[in-house]
Symmetry: D2
Subunit: 288 residues, 4 copies
């Protein structure tokens, strides 16, 4: 389309069957919406269909609510999971962090400069160190310390804050505490974690030290959805950096931080742009 108007985003997924594309495009045509981009994928292994459409309504009286009401029936026919997102909808994001600030610093920069179209509403940490950084950005900061004994209590406080701030997405930006199964369940599908290795290699603790000992020639990072298995959630994005024999564990850590930052950013960006779809243990990412 000629202009720079931000589009509405429609997404859907359902069992693969003939007619899934047509039911959507037909409705778009009837509603007089201009399709700016359409992208679909049919997974022959999982038997599931995925579609993402960016569109520009042409009728002045276009209403997201009306769209939702009208499309609901059609969607039900195909057993679709689907969503409609208004232009420039800023997801409310809560960031959880421990001491390492490189990912937090990068996300806040992207937020501040508009590269990430989100609203960072709250920063939660088990340490006090990063309060200054949050202050400078004018974002509420909660220091919730944690020990083995107070873990479940602390997680309850975290959940309370997540609710209080109407959080849509939680980003674990090098939050180093292992979440309890209950917490993973609570966050299922709406939390992205950055693990500082190229999964499935080097799961768990101190992956850069493991990497150095193994003598790998690349280090990497993986951004994935949180689920019950530690470091096992569906992968959204990965990145790598070449390393050599002259780099010790602390050098791998330093180099790895750059990869973590950009990999987490990519994943969050794809998520808020509704480009990511869960597909069993995997993900479909359109244009990521």
């Amino acid at each position: 389309m000629k202009s720079n108007t931000a589009p509405w985003i429609f997404t859907a997924s359902c069992p693969s069957i003939i007619g899934t594309v047509d039911v959507v495009t037909r409705y778009m045509a009837q509603a007089g919406n201009y399709i700016d981009e359409i992208h679909s994928f049919d997974d022959r292994e999982s038997g599931r269909f995925f579609i993402r459409i960016e569109f520009l309504p042409q009728h002045a009286d276009f209403s997201g609510e009306v769209f939702k009401a009208e499309f609901a029936e059609r969607a039900a026919e195909f057993d679709m999971d689907w969503s409609l997102t208004a232009p420039n909808h800023k997801q409310k994001v809560a960031i959880m962090v421990s001491k390492y600030d490189h990912c937090l610093n990068d996300l806040l920069y992207r937020f501040r400069t508009g590269q990430l179209n989100i609203d960072v509403t709250v920063i939660i940490s088990n340490h006090p160190d990063l309060e200054d950084l949050a202050k400078w950005h004018g974002i509420p900061y909660y220091h919730l310390p944690i020990t083995a004994e107070t873990k479940l209590e602390q997680e309850a406080q975290v959940r309370a804050l997540i609710e209080q701030y109407d959080t849509e997405l939680v980003v674990l930006a090098r939050y180093m505490q292992v979440l309890s199964p209950g917490m993973c369940e609570y966050l299922d599908g709406r939390a992205i974690n950055i693990h500082h290795s190229l999964l499935p290699g080097f799961k768990g603790a101190r992956p850069y030290h493991q990497a150095w000992e193994k003598g790998v020639k690349m280090v990497g990072a993986t951004a994935h959805y949180v689920n019950n298995d530690l470091d096992e959630g569906p992968i959204i994005s990965q990145g790598i950096q070449v390393v050599n024999h002259a780099q010790y564990a602390e050098d791998l850590i330093a180099k790895g931080q750059d990869i973590e930052r950009v990999t987490l950013f990519n994943a969050v960006k794809c998520h808020v742009e509704k480009r990511v779809f869960l597909n069993g243990k995997r993900t479909v990412v359109f244009g990521g």
Copy 2:
């Protein structure tokens, strides 16, 4: 779709206007075709629309000819340039080469092993060196020497061979002769060239030597469609390789060859899979 059946490929491009997606998906639905993948792009700058669909006919009596006849009217309404390609259609490809054989060797390997779904019907060279390689692959080889004086004559012979072998795509796999304007025009839109630099840097001759003198820290290659301007045709694919001070021009040449091979392969693969669309001086490449 559940099976591994190779899909039919539909492509179209036309001026951006509402209804371009719908006219296609409506027809697909009416004809009972299963859309395996749909991808469109609307270029707000050039005001042009592009779409590519992989589909699996569901009716036993599906006919490409009938599709073409039925869709022609709809296409005309939107002033579409469009194409329909049968599953596993192997484009007839003529490869032109001079002395360097790395690209030719790679393309023949991909052809031989089925990675490139093409039919290499003829190899044309201004040198005799690579005849053995062609022979081993059982492909006709024509040695057509060329000098400044005999250029137009030689090009006429090349065109004759291109016609003789019903060529759909010409691949200039490090064919080092500069084509005459007439030859460029003849090949317009159906010839891919590999230039051994990351255009627009280092056009013309001896790009690796130019690169070494400039002291760049990366060398690259560019695969593009042939048009009238030397090294200026629409870019399809690019690749790079990191280099350092310890590499002289001959080392850059050696390293560059790997990039040339894979870049040219990528471009040819995207072209034969109908993923590439001309968009003014640029290209749209779906899933490249």
Copy 3:
């Protein structure tokens, strides 16, 4: 060596001739210095020799001044340009910036967290926008506006500040004003600029727009020493990012910023670690 002691750094370059390695290693041995790493390169084209050594003195009374006095004679024999840098010497760095803050933000982060072993003493800008960021880091900020008429005057003020802060390195972190020849000369050899394209492509203004028009499939950045030719100084480091047809100029700009940040950081890091040597129009970079 067993410990984590930071090493002294010795560098030298001179015309290629037999004995250049030996004169250095012999002196190191006599002085009882432990060589932690030695790396040399002999450029057969420019006929110049380069060497870099990280060493740990073993004698408690080791003195950099004594080393310099003792080695001076030997160096003179070979017409060496050479330097000796104490462990953890933090170069005094002045950063010049305009409005875009991504490179500045990144450098300050690296400085703040110790990843870049420098002392950012002053930030100079022709705009007032980034004063807040400088304040939060506790670094003096000077807003020196500039117009075509006041250019030479403004540059004189910049030079005064560079002197005032005993600057060793000037980093042009997306400082968008074209420097006068006199300013380039003044900065020769001690100023690093980041140009937002993969030189030699897209020199000058608006390289991302040029890149978009050309339809390239990669955008890049180049960090280089400032000299008299616009965007022509010896290249230190380059980086690229893959792009596609769906990205307009503003998207290339956004993507490019990530490459600019890391490329500039790499170059500054290599420079302060004395890994970079001028070699005519090119550079030698050990372990970059």
Copy 4:
């Protein structure tokens, strides 16, 4: 140095102690050898020193034998493992392969065109498929079938051929049989294997299928020395390729082949250029 003369290569490694660089450079100076490049590394963790020197003898009567005799004493003082390699020494290489020919095809191409300075003396396979390819290159081909029962017998035949052809390096170019412990021991330190994943991820069988199931966004390959642990030998080189949801296992296999080829080539090249040093479970690679 001014000319293009190929250099002699000296390598050594020993326990870290003062004097290891000097003993070598002093000898080089006394022998009147021109050092074209020197590179050392001191691993503070393993306490081991590594050095590689490319040099050009200046005396017409230089003799490798004399060098070896003279340096032996000095080397013994430091308990050095060391080697001296004549210019353009072509290591005799035996390639083992099963059915997949992409790595073999690539190595033979590099050999044929001189990019790999080796002498491929024999190709051994447990299948007959690739005999034609070997024939065209004029290299003896041995088809040695293998079953669970005949394994040790077949391995004895392989060893006999390795001996018969004075093999210095064995390259397992997608040789799919698991070697017995005895065979691994026999090959220890002089056999390079390509594993089609980015180790330590996806060890063992069908790594691309494992990768697809895991939903990773990158596939890779690892070239490593063979030792007793399956896929655990010291890593020499690694490479990756980005993949997405639209690629099934067979697509990952196809894409992965390109990475395997270039990764194996890199590793073999580094090995024959004496750039690789064993360092416990890891490797030091100079200029790789």
